[in-house]
């Protein structure tokens, strides 16, 4: 069967992005990113079990500028996926589908994901005693 060339729907290039559709695709994108990002947790745990040298390697990677940028992106993806995931669980209960409510919960997710990320990083730096 020639299934490779079938048209895809919706046609993303002619659709005007809306908050609801952007948040929906972002949920999927952050999910994929988090699946990849889990490798960092796996590395961290295995390095801790392996020994001090392996652990120092992973700690210095996380502590590097590149590592911190990755971790910041990972933190945001995590809080976004968590917040929007809770929004999805509420929808699964059959509530919150009214247009106004869907937009309000969408903006709430946007604000919550940013605020939680900032709080976590401020707390992280406070625990470490500065930069």
């Amino acid at each position: 069967m020639a299934t490779e060339n079938r048209p895809l729907s919706p046609h993303l290039q002619v659709y005007r992005p809306q908050l609801t559709s952007v948040l929906s695709i972002l949920h999927r994108a952050t999910g994929i990113a988090l699946a990849v990002g889990t490798l960092l947790l796996v590395w961290w745990l295995i390095a801790a079990a392996t020994g001090p040298t392996a652990f120092d390697t992973v700690q210095s990677f996380i502590g590097s500028i590149f590592g911190r940028i990755l971790l910041l992106a990972w933190t945001y993806a995590l809080f976004y996926h968590l917040s929007n995931g809770i929004r999805h669980l509420v929808w699964d209960s059959g509530k919150g589908f009214e247009l106004g409510t869907a937009y309000a919960s969408g903006w709430l997710v946007v604000v919550a994901s940013v605020v939680l990320t900032v709080i976590s990083w401020v707390a992280g730096y406070a625990v470490q005693g500065g930069l």
Binding site: A35, T38, L45, L78, L82, G124, V127
Partner: protein, 126 residues
């Protein structure tokens, strides 16, 4: 009139033969991950920049070890379920779709078991 047999209707598994099992598992693991992830983020903030001994002490303490293992299982289960749906949605070449889904599931099992093993090794090995 339905063409479905009475037995098929009673089983309620539909044409894909798995019913709502995938959907339900995705939600149950999501629900479990809400408290686990909040605990994990708070814990990671506390152990940030820890040296090897401090990290081992954190991972190896009984409550943390149990919660970490639960987090690992729920995360990999939830993640491979989600990636499976993404692959099913976008990959329309059957052999490639099956190969990718099997690779994702295999990787999730391998990495999940490796992570759980690491937690056990630290908790029991000292």
């Amino acid at each position: 009139m339905s063409a479905r047999t009475p037995l098929g209707r009673a089983r309620g598994l539909g044409s894909a033969k798995t019913g709502t099992g995938h959907w339900w598992a995705q939600r149950v693991t999501a629900l479990a991950l809400v408290p686990l992830i909040i605990w994990f983020v708070v814990s990671m903030i506390i152990v940030t920049g820890a040296d090897h001994e401090a990290a081992k002490a954190f991972i190896g303490s009984p409550i943390n070890a149990v919660l970490l293992i639960l987090l690992i299982i729920a995360t990999f289960h939830h993640g491979q379920l989600g990636l499976q749906v993404v692959i099913e949605d976008y990959i329309h070449t059957k052999w490639l779709e099956v190969a990718l889904i099997l690779s994702v599931k295999g990787a999730a099992i391998f990495l999940g078991v490796a992570s759980v093993y690491a937690v056990f090794a630290i908790a029991l090995g000292g």
